[in-house]
Amino acid sequence: MNWSQLFTSSVGKKVTMALSGLFLVAFLLVHAGLNACIWANDGGVMFNVAAHFMGANVVPRVLEIGLFVFFLLHIIQGLVLEIQNRSKRKVGYAIPMGNKGSKWYSRAMGILGSIILIFLVIHLIDFWIPSRFGGLGQMYIDMSTHQIVSAGTPGAKEYHDLYGEMVYKFTNYPWISVVYILGVIALFWHLVHGIQSAFRTFGVTNHKYISILTVVGWSFAIIVCGAFIMMPISFLAGWIS
């Protein structure tokens, strides 16, 4: 069995989905951690500096290429698998099995993934494209005091005001917040199935570990998605200014 036979086999495709999925899970943790800087409640200084690091430093930029590769792999292969799997039963049942035996979110990975994809496109247009290709306001920070200062102040460094963009979008357009919350809810259920499923794909047969990995999956989904959902809510509720 050569490489292409391995990765184009039905089990090999699962492995690819699981590996790329777990890479994306790791990314979510980094993303949620960085975004948590908004709760420093310092007018966005910490957040903008962190966002600047992610955009300017070579390490995150190289990882970002990998991220896009894994995103595309996960999305394209996921969609292809969904279409292929659906085509394996040309005549369906008059009475579907429904929830007799499996969870709705386990069966809905394709639909949940598609919702996340739509959300991802909206999200990239909202924040990633302006931060990489221009379109954001500027903020001047004195790095010795970590204070926001006006342009031209000695020692002031210029940063993209990604934080200001977040405040603007989430406070002025509540529907954007609604779209984000719905996208993250889809992500939540995707993770609940995906994380434990990935470990089954890697061959975890021990019941003791499967149960703990299921708990880990739920916990990760609750913590990370909870953090993401609290972001627009924090702006809307005025907890951070």
Partner: protein, 256 residues
Amino acid sequence: MEHYNMNLTLKVWKQKDGKSKGGFETYQVKNISSEMSFLEMFDVLNEQLIHEGKEPIAFDHDCREGICGMCSMYINGRPHGPWQGTTTCQLHMRAFKDGDTIVVEPWRANAFPVLKDLVVDRTAFDRIIQAGGYVSVNTGVTVDGNAIPINKDNADKAFAAAACIGCGACVAACKNSSALLFLSAKTSHLALLPQGQTERNKRSLAMVAQMDKEGFGSCTNTGACEAVCPKEIEITNIARLNRDFTAAGLAADVKG
């Protein structure tokens, strides 16, 4: 359990042959005993149809004691009907009550084409077994059963996996029509024992390749297969197969 009789409405899939377009036919059966098996109820219905000069309903069955894997009805939205860990032949009519409507469909999967009515062609499973579900040993004198020590845990797991009767309920239940629970049961009962080690790598690679060729879908770990398996084969067998297959695929030494 108290005995009772019941009248039922049956909606059964009728299809002349693989090429024809099928459809549901509705039948009435009366005075069905709660102590009959589901297939005995079908026998009563078929007798009735024969007396009426109509064609009986074709369905698969053989041992009628839950061990051969021939019976294959999808009853009220669940393979083998409502009972847990039960084949259709062991499903008894006390699972239903007077006045019920029961919908019976064949297994649905492209890899299991309908031959007639409720009978589907499951020879794809035979070809998967032929691809590697065996151990190659020279026959001869009977070997001492205790010649190779085997730990109890593995012996029990291998035995549980070997309980697979190859009925195809896992495929019928899976939203992807994946045969991986069946396949993994067939690889696991050998992979867990010393005698299965020699061909362990080759086996998982060959059987998965054959499964893909037969047109089954790929597994997404939804667990529907495990829930409907009449022999309660565990989904952890799939995880074992995933590991075996990946390890074998990575280890395979081929040119190019």
